[in-house]
Amino acid sequence: MSTITNSIFTPETAARFDHLVTLYPVKRSALVPMLLYAQDEVGYVSDAVVAEIAQRLDLLELDVRNVLSYYSMLRTKPAGRYNVQVCTNISCMLRGGYEILDHCKHKLGIGHKEVTADGVFSLEEVECIGACCWAPAMQVNYDFHDNLTTVKVDEIIETYRAGKGKDVK
């Protein structure tokens, strides 16, 4: 049973959050992961997400927003169902990261932090994702795709478009 009545989250996520706050010496420690997990479910950190998380952690909504605005993975607007994040930092750049980004822009018809009209894909240029030795690399949601070529990117995007892509949450 969730401690919050009328939770906006699924019962599983609500139960997970109930558990999460018990793990730490201080409840607030659950804030950053909770925002990310909420975003995974809702698609972005909506006003309702902020309100419920504030309530769960006995914080002001302002406290939550203050933290929310700091972390680059957290967003306050919906992204595509599959958020394509292309790394262009040094190791990827040296092995064609910008070509991969350009290719994605062209293929999806969208730019940095934009969403396709059907809402299936969004695109983001991101900083180092820790896949330097397998560059160039990108993530689709949380899944890593590395040693990329434009051909490989096409295959990956088509796999997701067909709803057959892996989607770790």
Partner: protein, 438 residues
């Protein structure tokens, strides 16, 4: 999925269990898993710290602080609970070594955390992974859950009468959180901005309690060191630099990958022998030897041993062990601009020299790269970078200034060629892309 690489010069200590299914707890147990923690319980905290001191292990996050010494700073008696904090917020561009550890040997992290806890008398440990590493977080979460299920974690671990708990934590995207005090802020549910030091975490850390914070690779080394003995481990490395290290070699090499080499291994050999030399038979232009914050080395400067002291003498740093290799086609101005763009993006804004310095250097470099540079721009960049050094709460300001100074001093001519309108090299990215990126 990261491909595993191998080379005869490797000395496999931390990577001993890679590729052997050790993420499974039963397999890990077959491979000497959880033996080190039982030995640690039997021998006691002073023994652990002495072994760690003898091992010469120095912090693998980049600062190179001796681990045993760090642990010994934690007061024995404390009113507030003590904590162990594992820094898996791996975000330094060019660095992907912890990625491989989490993937292949997550129990080594769990076991190392327990041993650190025993050494300092903590009852709780946190393993913090960057938010992007979700699939790895799941692997570590499973490792922790399996360790609980076997009774290795929780109450009375291995019949010792000691309780120890581990909580895994996800970040949500912030390079700055890799800095130890910012990581503690993040773990307390706040913006990841640094704290002023002193007090140091060993005295006042997480929730105000004495805290040991170690890089994931450092922690993963601990069980191996306890099993093989401190002196044996120290012998593998070079003077004052014990053991081995995971070096991630990326960029323009034939065989990029994460290789475990003894400390002090020659950088030139690492690039030409281990990683197979420069890609497509091109010439070497420069090496960024330990993640993007380390000052660049010229081809004639790379005949140097990969340890903290020798790299320091060479005017750079061992850093995070992420060796980024640049071939002759790279425009240093472009590369330097991409590097400072990263630090400008990641500066948390807490300290003015870093917030303003990174921004102005980026703007000036953009102007140079665009072909609209002023004669004084190169000198101005140097002036800005020099005035950031040592003037910020955390090392991000230095991390941005140091590589900038390296590029601007060693490749001054190339900057001037841009300023004078005679571009060098073959640009691999266009100005619009770079400027529009952030």
């Amino acid at each position: 999925m990261p491909t595993l690489v191998s080379h005869p010069d490797e000395v496999k200590v931390i990577s001993r269990r890679f590729g052997q299914g050790a993420a499974d707890i039963d397999r890990y147990l077959e491979l000497d898993g959880y033996k080190a923690v039982q030995k640690a319980i039997a021998e006691g905290p002073d023994w652990i710290i002495n072994v760690m001191k003898a091992s010469g292990l120095r912090g693998r996050g980049g600062a190179g602080f001796p681990t045993g010494l760090k642990w010994s700073f934690v007061p024995k008696q404390s009113e507030k609970p003590k904590y162990v904090l594992v820094n898996g917020d791996e975000s330094e561009p060019g660095t992907c070594k912890d990625h491989v550890i989490f993937l292949h040997d997550p129990h080594a992290i769990v076991e190392g955390t327990m041993i650190a806890g025993l050494a300092i008398g903590a009852k709780m440990g946190f393993i913090y992974l960057r938010g992007e590493y979700r699939y790895l977080l799941k692997i570590v979460e499973k490792a922790v859950a399996d360790a609980y299920a076997k009774g290795f974690l929780g109450k009375n671990i291995f019949g010792s009468g000691i309780d120890f708990d581990i909580v895994t934590q996800s970040g949500a995207g912030a390079y700055e959180v890799g800095e130890e005090s910012a990581l503690m802020e993040s773990l307390e549910g706040k913006r990841g901005v640094p704290r002023i030091k002193p007090p140091f975490p060993a005295v006042v850390g997480l929730y105000g309690g004495p805290t040991v914070i170690n890089n994931a690779e450092t922690i993963a080394s601990v069980p191996h060191i306890l099993l093989m003995g401190g002196e044996e481990y120290a012998k593998i490395g070079s003077e004052r630099n014990g053991g081995t290290r995971l070096f991630g070699i990326s960029g323009h090499v034939e065989r990029p990958g994460v290789y475990e080499l003894p400390m002090g291994y020659n950088l030139k050999k690492a690039i030409y022998d281990v990683a197979g030399g420069i890609k497509d038979g091109k010439k070497l232009k420069a090496v960024v030897p330990g993640g993007s914050s380390c000052p660049v080395l010229l081809p004639e400067e790379i005949d140097v041993g990969l340890d903290f002291d020798q790299m320091g003498k060479a005017g750079t740093m061992l850093g995070s062990g992420g060796i980024v290799v640049l071939d002759e086609t790279v425009s240093i101005v472009e590369f330097a601009l991409r590097t400072i763009s990263f630090y400008q993006h990641e500066s948390c804004g807490w300290c003015i020299p870093c917030r303003e310095g990174t921004d102005w250097i980026k703007k000036t470099m953009t102007r140079i790269y665009n072909g609209g540079g002023n004669k004084k721009d190169a000198a101005n960049i140097q002036y800005l970078a020099e005035n950031m050094m040592g003037r910020t709460f955390c090392p991000l300001g230095d991390a941005a200034a140091m590589p900038t100074l390296g590029f601007i001093k060693k490749f001054r001519k190339e900057f001037e060629e841009y300023i004078e309108g005679n571009k060098a090299g073959t640009p691999i990215i266009t100005v619009q892309q770079l400027v529009g990126a952030h």
